[in-house]
Amino acid sequence: MGFPLLSLIVFTPAAGAAFLIFLRSDNAMRWTALAVTVIDLALCILMLARFDTATHAMQFTETRPWVPALGITYALGIDGISALFVFLTGLLGWICVLASWVAIDRKVKEFMISLLVMQALMLGVFCALDLFLFYVFWEATLIPMYLIIGVWGGEGRVYAAFKFFLYTLAGSLLFLIGVIVLYFHGGETFDILALTAQDLPFQVQAWLFFAFLIAFAVKVPMVPVHTWLPDAHVQAPTAGSIILAGVLLKMGAYGFLRFSLPMLPEASVHYSTLMLVLSALAIVYGGLLALAQDDLKKLVAYSSISHMGFVTLGIFALNFRGLEGGILQMFNHGVTTGALFLFVGLIYERTHTRSMADYGGLMKAAPVYTTFLALFTLSSMALPGTNSFVGELLVLSGGFAANLAVGAAAVLGALLGAAYLLGMYRKVALGPASVGARFKIRDVNAREMTAILPLAVFVLWVGLYPKPFLNIIDASVKHLLAQVHAKGGGQ
Amino acid sequence: MTAAMEFLPVLFMVAGIVLVAGVTLFVSSLLRPSNPYPAKNMPYECGMDPAGDAAGGRFRVQFFILAILLVVFDVETMFLFPWAVVLKDIGLVGYVEMFVFMLLLVVGFAYAWLKGALEWEA
C-alpha cells in the first residue's frame, strides 16, 4: 500500500469542512472552501496523471479492516470509469464554490460545510471498493443535499427537499436489502471485486437487479421515478443544482456500471430491452416536458432527464460503443448541464426571475454571457465539435446496434433537444431587449469567468479531441463488457 | 380431610352468628316502636341542621398515607411469619437473608419517619 492518494482526495474536503467550523468571517470561509476544492482538484489531476490507462484493474487501492466481524473493509480504488467521475467531481467542486460566492449570503459557514462534505461523500462513492462503504457514502449524501436544497433553496424548498430525500431514501433502502442479500449469496463479503467474481443463480440476479434498479433509477432519474428532480433542481441554489446535475445523477448510472452489469450480468442482459425502452421513454418524455417549460431551470432540469436517458441507453445497449458513449456522455452532461445551471444561476442573481418570458435581447446587455451560453447550448444540443456530439454519436450508434426502434426514438429525442434549446436561446439572448429596460444587467465578472472558462475548455476539448478521455475508460469498458458477455451471454 | 375439618367450624360459626343476629333483629322488630319523622331522621349534628355532604370523598391525605403504609408493612409481616416458623431448619442463608430483609424494612420505615409520613398534625 503506497501513498493513500484516494483517501487524501476523499477526505481533503471533509478536513476542510472541519476546519471551516472554526472560522468566523464569511469571506474567509469562502476563500478557504475555494482553496480546499482547488487542492482537491489538483490532487485529482495528480491522480489522472499517474493513472495507468493500459489496465482495467483497480488502481491506487487501499484496504484496511473496518468491521472484520461482518467482512467489511475500508477499501478504496479506481478503475477507468471511476477515475473519470472522480475527476468530474473534483472539477465541479470549486466551480460550485465560485457559483455560490455571492448567491449564498446567509449561513455561509453551514453552506460551505455542506458543500465540502457533499464533495467528500461523492468522491467516496466513486472510490469505494467495498459495498458497505459505498452504501455509507451513497446514503450519507442525502444529509448535506437535503440541507443544501432545504435551507438555501427557493420558495418551495422544503417540499422539494422532502421529496428528494424520501424518494432517494426509499430507493436506496431497497438497495441496502439487495446488498445484504448479495452479501450472503456472495460468500459473506462486501468486497466489490470478490462479489463481481461470484456466479449467482439467475433467480437471485433477477431480484437483485430490480432492487438495485429502484435505487439507481431514482438517482439517475429514469421515468417514472423522476418527479423529484425538477422540484429539487428548481428549488436548489445554483451550486446545489450543479452538484445534482453534475455528479449526483451520475451516481445512479455509476451504480449500474459498477454493480448491475458486472455482478448481475445475466439479469442485465435479460432485462436490457426493458432498460432500453425506459431510457428511450426518458429521452422523449424529458424532451417533450422541456419543450413545454417557461422556467429556465425547469427546462434544464427536464433536459437532464432526457440526457440521462441517453446515458442509460448507452449503458444498456451493452456494446462497446454504447457503453463508451454512455460514460463519456455522463462526463459531458456533468460539464454541460452544470454549466447551464451555472448560467441560469448567474442570470437569476441579477434579475431574480427565471421565466423565459421575462427575458429577451440579452445579447446586447451581456455579450460575453450570451456567447458562452451559446456554446453550452450548442453543446447540450450535441452539435458537432462540442463534447456531447461525440458522446451522443457513440450512444446512438450503440443504441441502433442494440435495438433499432429505441435508436430511432433516441434520435427523435435529440431533435426535440434541438428544438427546446434553440427556442430557449432565442427567447433569452435574441430578440428585443425586454429585460434591459427593467434590470441593470452587467456582464460576467472575473470570478464568474473563472468558473465558466474551464467548463468551456472541456466542452471543446472533448468535442474536438476526445481520445484522452476515451483512453481512460477504454480498458475498463472492455473488461466490463467481457464480464457481462462472458456470463450473461449475448453478442 | 383434616384441613376441611379444621376450617369447617368457621363456616358453622358464620352461619350461627348470622342466624342469631337475624333472630335477634326479628324479635326486636316485633317489640320496638317505629315513629320516624324528618327531624329525627336528620343526621346528628348537635341539633343543628346538617350542612353539606358527609360522605363527599374529601378527607385528609394522612388517611391514605396510613392505608398505604399498612398495605406495605402488613405484607412484609407475611414474609416474616413463615420464616419465623422454619427459622431453625432454614440454615444460615435463610437466617441471614431475613436480616437483610428486616434491614430494608427498617430503611423504609426510617425513610417514612424522616419524611414525616408518621406525623399527624392535628
Binding site: - | V10, M102, V106, W120
Partner: protein
Amino acid sequence: MELIVALGLIAFKVALLIAILLLLPLPLTWLERKIAGRMQQRMGPMRVGWHGLLQPVADGIKLLTKEDHIPAEADRFLFKLAPILALTPPFVVFVAIPFGETVSVLGAEITLYVSNMNVALLFVFAVIGLEVYGVIFGGWAANSKYAVLGSLRTCAQMISYEIPMGFAVIGVVMLAQSMSLLEIVRAQADVWNVVYQPVGFFVFFVAGLAEAQRIPFDLAEAEGDLGAGFHTEYSGIRFAFFMVSEYAIVLLVSVLVVILFFGGWNGILVPLPPLLWFLLKVAFFVYLFIWFRFTFPRYRYDQLMAIGWKVLLPLSMANIIITGVALGAVAAP
C-alpha cells in the same frame, strides 16, 4: 357415623361459644360499672336486682325494644349490614382459640378447642383485619359527619396498631416454631413467653388495647368531639351488636395475651385445673382492661398515632431482630 358425631360436636361447641360470647357482656358491663364505682368511691348500679345484678338484663331489654332509627340520607343496605359485619369477626376468631387440651366428659375425651389450625395465628390476624369493614361501612353508610370522621379515625387506628401487633407476635412464633396456638402454649410448659418476650408482650397488649378501642385509645368514639364515633347514628339492637363486638374483642385480646405470653393453661406453683388457670389469667387481663379505663386519661389523636408508629412499631421490629440474634447465638455451637 363418626363424621356425624364429629360434626355434631363442632356444632355444639360453636353454639356454646356463641352463647357464651353473646351473654358475656351482661356480667362484664355489670362488673365494669361496679369496678368503676369502687374506683370512684361510689356504689355503681344498685337499683335493679341485688347490687344491681339485673341491671345488664334491663339494659338488654331496653336495647331490644328501642326504636331502630335509620337516618334519611343513609345507605340503608350498608347501614343494616354493618353491625353484623362488626359482630362476625371476633366471634369467628374464637373458633381457632384453644381453651385447654382436653377434658373428660362421661368418659369421652373432648378437646377444649373447636379447631386446631396449623396457621391459627395467621387466621386470627386475617379475621381480625375484617373488623375494619363493619366500622367503615357503619360510619360511611350513616352519612353523618361525626360517623364518617369517627369511622375513618377508627380504621386508621385499627390498621396502625395491627402492624405492631403482628410484629410483636413474630417473636413468639420464632420461639415456638409454629403458628398453631396449641403448639405455642405447649412450648410454654416450662417458661412463659413473657419472660423471653417482655417487649413483645408490652407491644401486643398496648396494641390490643387500641384494637379494642378501649381507653386510653378510645379516641374514635370520644363523646366530647365525635358524638360516639362511627356508631353515632345507631340505636337499639344494632347498637347493641357493636357493643357485643367490642366486648368480644376485649375478651379476645385477653385470651390471646394469655395464650401467647402467659403460658395459656399452664399453671405455676399452684396445681389448679388447667382450664381454671386459663380462665383466671384471662379474667385478670379483662380486669386490667377495666382498670385502665378508669385510670388513664385519653390520648390526643396525634399522640395515639405517634405511639403506634413511632414507639410500638420500632419496638416490635427491634424485638424481632434481637430475638433473631439471640436465637442465632443460642443455635450456634
